[in-house]
Symmetry: none
Subunit: 408 residues, 2 copies
């Protein structure tokens, strides 16, 4: 019997409210440069401290597998309870979601960017001299206007930042992944797009379509040097992912500010609640939507953003800002509240990392780990131990008393 | 997608230097007989303590699976990052490696020992009255002289301690495992050797060869009572193991003193650096070979040896001796340094055990677990948690920044 099937079989409806707060990249490491402190340890978090003293279970989570640093995609899929290695989402799809494109199952998306082509189609600058965003937007508008459809397939083109954009093919019988239309270095022509799996008729059809797109788009750019060409990478279809609501018996909502996280939530069928821009507003929205959903995914970006900048003070302050807003959420305290990150983003490393993120779980039956605060070193001592992030949802369900007893 | 494939896909070349120091059997348990201390806790380790205070991540490792006590073979294969259950090495192979025989892929090795045969070939003493080593050596020399080849197959015979020896068949198209030529109790004849997999033509051929060996060797021993017969067990070929260098993109070297550990390193393709006899000399050799390899496996035997003797004081002193030499290694501090054991060897038990061994990891991004020392109880509180030993290599690679981010 598969473990997922066992969980499904044991799942009960209870009407409990569950909240997952993701402080993106909150996990960190204590280094001498930071006074042997992590931002979580250095931050003044009176509200979080009070919650911990009321009784919380703490632990640490391996985001994917030992030593593996996840991007936001696998990091969040694991938090949503999906195996991040089994359920892989192509880069094109993530990029499209990040630009706010509403992808449907089967849509094929590609990360694209303008480039400079020289004589005989040789790529002379893979980034088209890093053209500015307004230029990119103008060129995307041109392509969009001229290429709306290829046969029955709809083509969506959306500008990103600088020279970057996204192309989505929406039609029947399409499938990725396809090989990159990118020589990955200068001095070579753009290689022809091939299906990665040569046996897939759908992928073959999609590759043909992408070639047709090239043959129509390139002439439109011919006089637009330095942006007289473009490359496409990570061409993949949106995978069919079992819906969150069916998987857990919970009606889910997403309260995120940045498109990438809204997109990831949408992938698993969460309803996106639009409007809020600050963590305080997100919590207010949770209060007003409390009756309409069973599960709320609340995403907070700034811990990661400042970690990526290596700005310890700013990451610390971002945690303090979250803490200051926390009482709003607690006005209607959910039955189960989990606070964690999708991975660590140590200031010292200025990047995502593989270090297990700390996690805090509060419910009527979380008990107390007799810790004073929520921190990495504290979480090392917690009752949840070290576990794979994909099991957090199962812990939350258990704390919501959603699982029947297994066996007599 | 298999996890190993994901690791391979994400692996980058970085030029980092990684060192794995194995204090064989270092893990222990605190008992009242030992003043509630483990040897690691009782030992004075000023250099290790200083390293811990500079910032280390600690944890404990399950050598194979809960409750399973490994021999040196599985213990080290796990440390080298191979699944010790999937990658099993026959006892004959381990024994041959332990005697310093340079095995090649496809060589079939057997643990053998002299025994006493009575009337009609009945085994009357499975250990031939525990003959002394010089007698065993003499008999092995006799067999070696008379049986150099069986057809095209070379036969190597090497004496071990007491009544023990090893037989290696080196030729084309050989394969184990074969059933034991050992009744496993007295009063029965030596059973005929069979291939374990009856469908393997190679194993059938090898079984025939082993029978031929018996028919030639037994007459030579007829007048040598009590050693007028011999038994063979664990007859297996050296498995093809994916090479360490291909698996990790690291050029590995082995600095071990005892043949068994050199042999295990050789199994995965490490270069054996000969010469050093003390841990200080091993560290000196690391300094002089620093530029020639990316990964150094440094093996220290005495922690295990004294644990097996139940000699707490001696095991403690062995740790202190290691600590005293540690500054030599740190003269060229590797980018990633792991210090651990291949298993525990509690003095109280006088044997290997299943107790998870403590592990310490030091790198620029190991952070600090805010522990004062390296010990079993300290490691229980560390950020690495409890994990399977086969993932240590993946942790080391991550700390060497050898893994690209997974997903966008």
């Amino acid at each position: 019997m598969k473990l997922d099937d066992l969980y499904s079989e044991l799942t009960l409806k209870t009407g409990a409210k569950l909240v997952l707060v993701v402080l993106d990249g909150v996990g960190d490491i204590a280094t001498t440069a930071q006074n042997e402190m992590t931002p979580l340890e250095a931050a003044a978090t009176p509200n979080l401290d009070a919650l911990v003293r009321q009784g919380c279970a703490q632990g640490r989570m391996t985001p994917v597998a030992p030593g593996i640093t996840p991007g936001s995609g696998p990091g969040h899929l694991a938090l949503f309870g999906y195996d991040p290695i089994e359920t892989q989402v192509g880069r094109g799809v993530i990029e499209a979601l990040g630009l706010g494109i509403e992808l449907g199952a089967g849509d094929v998306a590609a990360r694209a960017n303008f480039c400079t082509l020289g004589a005989r189609g040789i790529v002379t600058d893979r980034r088209a001299g890093r053209i500015e965003t307004p230029v990119c937007e103008e060129l995307c508008a041109l392509l969009s206007k001229k290429i709306k459809k290829l046969g029955d397939t709809e083509v969506l083109i959306k500008a990103g930042k600088g020279h970057r954009f996204v192309v989505v093919f929406r039609g029947k019988g399409l499938e990725g992944p396809l090989t990159d239309a990118d020589p990955h270095r200068e001095g070579l022509p753009i290689p022809a797009i091939q299906p990665v799996d040569a046996a897939s008729a759908k992928a073959k059809k999609t590759a043909k379509l992408a070639a047709e797109f090239y043959s129509k788009a390139l002439p439109l750019l011919a006089k637009k040097a330095p942006a007289n060409g473009f490359l496409m990478r990570g061409i993949a279809h949106q995978p069919e992912i079992p819906l969150f609501e069916q998987r857990y018996g919970l009606k889910p909502a997403c309260l995120a500010v940045y498109p990438m996280y809204k997109g990831l939530a949408q992938l698993v069928g969460m309803t996106k609640i639009e409007g809020p821009e600050t963590i305080g507003q997100q919590f207010e929205k949770y209060l007003s939507e409390h009756g309409n959903y069973d599960f709320f995914f609340i995403h907070y970006k700034y811990t990661d953003m400042h970690g990526e900048d290596g700005n310890f003070e700013a990451k610390k302050r971002a945690i303090e800002d979250f803490d200051a807003a926390l009482p709003i959420l607690l006005r209607k305290k959910p039955d189960v509240l989990a606070i964690t990150g999708d991975h660590s983003t140590p200031c010292f490393m200025k990047s995502h990392s593989w270090h297990p993120q700390p996690v805090l779980l509060h419910s009527a039956c979380s008990g107390s780990d007799k810790l004073e605060r929520f921190s990495e070193t504290g979480a090392n001592l917690g009752s949840l131990g070290l576990f794979e992030a994909k099991f957090l949802m199962r812990h939350m369900q258990a704390h919501a008393r959603m699982f029947d007893k297994f066996g007599a």
